[in-house]
Amino acid sequence: MPIITYREALNQAMREEMRRDERVFLMGEEVGYYQGAYKISKGLLDEFGAQRVLDTPITELGFTGLGVGAAIAGLRPIVEMMTFNFALLAIDQIVNSAAKMLYMSGGQCRVPIVIRGPGGAGHQLGAQHSQALESWFCHVPGLKVVSPSTPADAKGLLKSSVRDDNTVIFMESEVLYGTKGEVPEGENLIPLGVAEIKRPGKHVTVIAHSKMVLVALDAAQQLEKEGIEVEVVDPRTLRPLDTETILSSVKKTNHAVIVEEGWPYCGVGAQMADTIQLHAFDYLDAPILRVTGADVPMPYAKNLEHLCLPDKTRVMDAVHRVLNRK
């Protein structure tokens, strides 16, 4: 199997879907001539032309709403947010138009749109450019939320998202763009709503998505040396959540640790914890622990930024605490 980067995987997914379906087009800031701020759309303008690869003015609310309108009128837009931080300006169109139109119209208006881009922290990008807002989008019925951790998942899930008839929020990670992995060639659709066990284990379940999966796997490898077998579950899709896979893992290990990059209070991990305590109450030997980003705006200083983000050590510590509870 060819080994490619997460970036190339996303690029292939868009390219293949645009070749397959004329109605699919890409729109966003710098996606065309500039080849994408993070080069995800490299070469797409050359292949598909300015009709299907559109550089937009800096108007997140406007072009996202435009995308939603285009979707109800028969197109299948992929809207790139240069980063998801800027999606805050478009959130009204995402929540009040995209997520609700099908319902408000009594089923008449489908909104097959994918809104994608990097979320979370980069490197010292500061408070306004380092937010992981998964839980916001997850909160809204009508939206689907995807957040892949590997190149293979990125490609397979993006292709499925483009073919989905609903609004899909597809959250990538700037830090993952350069990571490599095996990706099966051609058609390889990964269904939305299906988690994957990234590493099997029997002592404790660690649930993580996006770049936190790498952190969790790191910790798991280290813990193996201590004889602790960690099962790493990657939901891949955050809404709808594959509770079945998560629950069966927890029912097996009786211990759960949830890792997420974002803020702790009302984070998506809180919902996972609630789901687990509700359905696996009698299986839990210890309270569910969460490892999250610090409850602060992201500081610029490198040393403070490091303190903010979950790392291997903090995950290992949580695993120890959840297991060694008297």
């Binding site: 109605r23 087009f25 009709q51 559109l54 937009t56 003015p57 108007t59 609310l61 406007g62 072009f63 996202t64 709403g65 435009l66 995308g67 939603v68 309108g69 285009a70 979707a71 109800i72 009128a73 028969g74 197109l75 009204d92 169109q93 009040n96 138009s97 139109m101 099908l102 319902y103 408000m104 119209s105 009594g106 089923g107 008449q108 208006c109 489908r110 019925p141 009508g142 689907k144 008839d165 609903n166």
Partner: protein
């Protein structure tokens, strides 16, 4: 040029809210128009007026809930504008859209049933007064967030151009919506990308209780087009034929040149902002409202047609009886329709 204040003097110089009738009179326009078309326009205006008068009663009776925004007084704008469309064209409106839906030929019974919240409503009772949808007729809502429909309409126009369909999109919004970011971002996009859309600002002087003088630094709203290099027009929104003529030009421009237009129609709202708001009070006097009612677009148009001998008083009364019957049928239909089945609660959140 380095520094110039010309803008300051220029813009609000013209006497406020008075449209210069450099154009022909309604009589002149009527003479150039098919009698059948004229009668149809009048009938539509009457239908909208009667439909909403009835809706107002039903609202006070508790048959209709939520927010209910009436179009009474503004009928000439929507009806004149929509009368220029082809059947494949698109329409997007704010929450004040009953009149536009009726003008588009959406079934009155299904509209009334939607106001009732019945399964047989255009939006299956899930949308309500603010969210009427009839996709088959290109009627794409009914939107409740001020300005929200403007980017959407721009996208609908984008799709038509992308798919090489000769479809024009009409986007209606109020004068207060002009101040919101969506308007600004959308008009630039439409002008930049040359999209087949016509933006119709229905300037009824008020955003709820705020007159334009307290919400906008500019009163001649068509002038906003200067900021986007866009064609513009201002028209007397109480004259259904003037609206129709201006619109014909704009629709033509959209269909044949993929060029957008911003049209400001000067009109007036005879009722309160919504059924929960007062007709007059802190924000405008009874006298002001009465004054404007003398320019009732239906009265004006009826007089024109009568004075030209194109219609008799009897015919008008007959027309009125007819539309009232249509409205009563719509009410009866709504009354006998069922509430949505409880299972409907969870459908349409995602596609099946």
């Amino acid at each position: 040029m380095e520094s110039s204040n010309t803008a300051v003097s220029a813009a609000n110089g013209t006497e406020e809210h008075v449209v210069e009738h450099s154009g022909p009179t309604q009589e002149e326009r009527a003479r150039r128009t098919e009698p059948a078309v004229l009668k149809n326009l009048l009938e539509q205006m009457l239908l909208v007026r009667r439909f909403e008068e009835r809706a107002a009663e039903l609202y006070t009776l508790g048959k209709i809930g939520g927010f209910c925004h009436l179009y009474i007084g503004q009928e000439a704008v929507g009806i004149g504008a929509i009368s220029t469309l082809h059947k494949d064209d698109y329409i997007l409106v704010s929450y004040r859209e009953h009149g536009h839906a009726l003008a588009r030929g959406v079934d009155p019974g299904e509209i009334m049933a939607e106001l009732y919240g019945k399964q047989s409503g255009v939006s299956e009772g899930k949308g309500g007064s603010m969210h009427l949808f009839d996709k088959g007729r290109g009627f794409l809502g009914g939107h409740g967030i001020v300005g929200g429909q403007i980017p959407l309409a721009t996208g609908v126009a984008f799709a038509a151009k992308y798919l090489k369909q000769p479809r024009v999109t009409l986007c209606f919004f109020g004068e207060a919506a002009v101040n919101i970011g969506s308007f600004h971002e959308s008009l630039n996009l439409a002008a930049l990308w040359k999209l087949p859309v016509v933006y119709i600002c229905e300037n009824n002087r008020f955003g709820m209780g705020t007159p334009i003088e307290r919400s906008s630094a500019l009163y001649d709203l068509s002038q906003k087009a200067l900021g986007y290099n866009m064609a513009r027009a201002q028209v007397d929104g109480m004259d259904v034929l003037a609206v129709r003529d201006v619109m014909a030009e704009a629709v033509e421009r959209a269909r044949n040149e993929n060029a957008p237009t911003l049209i400001e129609a000067r009109t007036y709202r005879f009722m309160g902002h919504s059924m929960s708001d007062p007709v007059h009070g802190h924000y405008r006097t009874k006298v002001e409202v009465e004054e404007h009612k003398r320019h009732d677009p239906i009265k004006i148009f009826t007089n024109t047609l009568e004075s030209l001998g194109l219609i008799t008083q009897e015919e008008v009364e007959e027309m009125d009886r007819k539309v009232k019957e249509i409205v009563e049928d719509a009410v009866a239909f709504s009354e006998r329709s069922d509430d949505p089945h409880p299972s409907q609660l969870h459908t349409d959140v995602y596609t099946p």
